[in-house]
Symmetry: C2
Subunit: 154 residues, 2 copies
DNA sequence: ATGTTAATGATAATCATTTTCAATAAGGAG
DNA sequence: CTCCTTATTGAAAATGATTATCATTAACAT
């Protein structure tokens, strides 16, 4: 197994928090650290299964839960009835998603225009105060049709 | 059954589109039109079940699907593993949600500050162009802790 | 090297949602 | 108003994602 910077960083985080470094966790971390897709638990299980047929789906779910808890990955839902996971980017690379309702394609969007970041900071401050709500994070999902799907309909 | 303006409006929409007006549909429409909560299918089923024990959960699901298709209601997910439904507000009352990760409380937020609406219009135009993506709608979810839950922790 | 105990994997359980299919009822035609 | 077609319904079973159980295994502190 080849480890990259990101997966080593994640391993360190696990250890620091007192979790054991096991083969399944290493494999899953390594795999996640090398993809920028928004994967289903099953996707991850199937990909890993080729080289590691002894790692079960249950363990994939458990590891994903753990990584979410440690904020190393994010869990999303786009109304598909199942969850998608992706590596957490650095803070400055906070991003939003475009989801194609036709084919399920997901586009990451993080080239914020103008003062978009400043804007959300402002909204959050306003909401926190008005609704006495301790906001931890936000998600913005844009739904519609991607280029290809839109053209197919014409 | 007492019908209000909103439910009559919704009935009309169904009929116009060629769907039959049945008792279960009328009951569900009437119930939905009188609540501003974000309900689970099961919630709706249970509430209705008191007066209409013959209306099944399956029919509730089917009716909700239909209403979503007709854009009369919206379907949301907040990472709970089940969907929530709410009446579609008028366009000018487009709103976003604050979701309490502790107790599941949902707060509607539609008193947009400054030019928030203008801002989203601008973002959408930018994204549509850059990613050649036909955006139909967007969702903004703020996650955190509501007042009560936050105080409980201190 | 070893003992403690967290982590795993196989299996079964759970839970939301969907499918199936025979019975019913909406609503147009006569 | 009655009949006919067919959309809609309800009960039950099926599906599919995720979680719980529990005996076995392996991490890692000592």
């Amino acid at each position: 197994m080849r480890k990259n910077k990101k997966s080593i960083e994640m391993e360190k985080c696990l250890k620091t928090q007192g979790f054991r470094m096991t083969l399944p966790r290493r494999v899953i971390l390594d795999f996640l650290s090398k993809t920028d897709e928004h994967l289903l638990a099953k996707d991850i299980y199937l990909k890993i299964n080729k080289n590691h047929p002894d790692i079960g789906l249950t363990t994939v779910y458990r590891t994903l839960d753990l990584l979410v808890k440690l904020s190393l990955i994010n869990k999303f839902e786009f109304g598909e009835g199942q969850s998608r996971y992706e590596l957490t980017w650095d803070l400055k690379e906070h991003h939003h998603h475009l989801f194609c309702l036709k084919c399920g394609k997901i586009i990451d969007y993080n080239d914020f225009i103008d003062d978009e970041v400043k804007f959300f900071t402002k909204i959050q401050k306003f909401l926190s105060k008005k609704y006495k709500f301790n906001i931890q994070n936000h998600e913005v999902h844009f739904y519609g049709k991607c280029n290809q799907c839109h053209e197919l309909l014409h």
